[in-house]
């Protein structure tokens, strides 16, 4: 096996730029290892925790808390991790918040372009889900991932509720209940217990279940926060409730004067 590279191996057959051999000596006398650090994503910085989504009879509902954690510091306590894409799609994002903002701007522009095109075609949830999968897969294949997990919700082309998951590798699937982040361990069993083999939930029952899951996540996820949002999508309407809070039962908390 050859461990040395001759510059001949590196010269492109058709040079579009001047070729500088001195950059390509990896071994030999007085060769310094490359100083520049790797500028690709290796770790998320400001992160959001779980996003919980479920289907109900006639629509989908997604919830996420409003915290951006900076490692273990609960740094940004009023950020929205849910997004209304257009009249037919909502999504929530776990993971790096900057990467979410980056994609959010791109998605917003996409919707503007679609509006301008005005050809009667509208992006629905399965289409956005597919597009996101491709974008995230291609970024991971360049070893520069967008360190995010998305939960995409809406109605499909037949008007049936659609809920999709995409992670930073481009792993994608659809299911009646989707939870990203730590909530995947905490909330998924609660959702499946109520939904498996049952007729579709009513909107009220779905909302109650979602709030119960957010409460459990707040109790048990170290990076969760009490304030959260719920986005509800039904045929023809999207509602994002922004001022919800988990109060919780702290009876056992004897450190607090209220409960002394």
């Amino acid at each position: 096996m050859r461990f040395t590279t001759s510059t001949m191996d590196l010269m492109p057959l058709q040079a579009s730029q001047p070729f500088d051999p001195s950059k390509y000596r990896y071994t030999g006398p007085n060769v310094q290892p490359r100083q520049l650090p790797n500028t690709r994503s290796q770790a998320p910085i400001t992160t959001g925790t779980s996003v919980i989504g479920l289907q109900f009879d006639g629509g989908v509902m997604i919830a996420a808390d409003k915290l951006g954690s900076y490692g273990s510091l609960a740094r940004y306590q009023n950020i929205g991790r849910l997004m209304r894409v257009n009249d037919h799609v909502i999504l929530g994002c776990t993971g790096d918040y900057a990467d979410f903002q980056f994609l959010r701007d791109i998605i917003d522009q996409k919707m503007i372009d679609e509006e301008c095109l005005d050809d009667g075609i509208v992006t629905r949830a399965p289409a956005l889900h597919c597009w996101l999968t491709r974008v995230l897969y291609n970024r991971r294949s360049r070893f520069d991932p967008l360190w995010t997990t998305f939960v995409v919700g809406g109605l499909d082309d037949d008007g049936k509720p659609f809920l999709g998951f995409v992670d930073k590798l481009g792993t994608a699937y659809t299911a009646p209940q989707i939870v990203s982040g730590m909530g995947g361990h905490l909330a998924t069993p609660l959702l499946r217990e109520k939904m498996d083999g049952q007729p579709p939930l009513s909107e009220a029952a779905a909302r109650e279940l979602l709030i119960r899951c957010m409460t459990v996540c707040y109790y048990r996820d170290c990076r969760a926060f009490s304030k959260f949002q719920i986005a509800t999508l039904k045929a023809g309407s999207i509602k994002i409730e922004d001022d919800l809070e988990v109060k919780g039962d702290w009876e056992v908390a004897h450190f607090s004067k209220e409960h002394a």
Partner: protein
Amino acid sequence: MSVQTMQPGARETAAGGPRQRYFYPYADNGGTVVAIAGDDFVVVASDTRLSSGYSIYTRDQKKTFQLSERTILGSTGCWCDVLTMTKVLRARMQMYRHEHNKAMSTGAVAQLLSTMLYHKRFFPYYVSNVLAGLDENGKGIVYHYDPVGHHDPGKCYTGGSGGALIQPLLDNQINYKNQENVTPEPLTVKKTVSIIKDVFTSACERDIYTGDAVAIQVITKDGITEELFPLRRD
């Protein structure tokens, strides 16, 4: 030597220079695929559990992809690679259809898949593939692949997390390996489907990534039929 911009979490090694955290582009999403060929049919089956670590993503994701009227691909392993590879494969098959004005034969798909996989020899699709279909004479054929495109035709193959548990049993029952004084009988669809159900129920006893249900598809000259057989959900 110092580094101007340090990534959080990056530390200097003893020899100096940054040490980076490593992003791993693959995941194991589990799943098992089995395909068995008969004289005029092929049965392809996969479980329907998609996993990640000790979590179940969904109990309702089959690992088989119908590529044409007579060819089905079973793909399991890293699910992001599975999705991409099948998307590209379907696009390539469409291109073939437009260029040659006929659908790809099973043998042609087999070769194409091999080439596609080897094309990514130095950053592979981390996928176990089992391709099954009817050849031009209507005879069943199954191909098994490694992640970089080596493929082999045969009568029955398995792939995925439970593959190693099932393959030996099929070698014995379908190919009559290590059996003495036995007269091979031609396989029927009914017998094959029955064997498939047995091997999957056995595999999901011991493989945590196999379970929930097995989607069994039978390809004959009359078309493709499908059955969903429930398995253990633990």
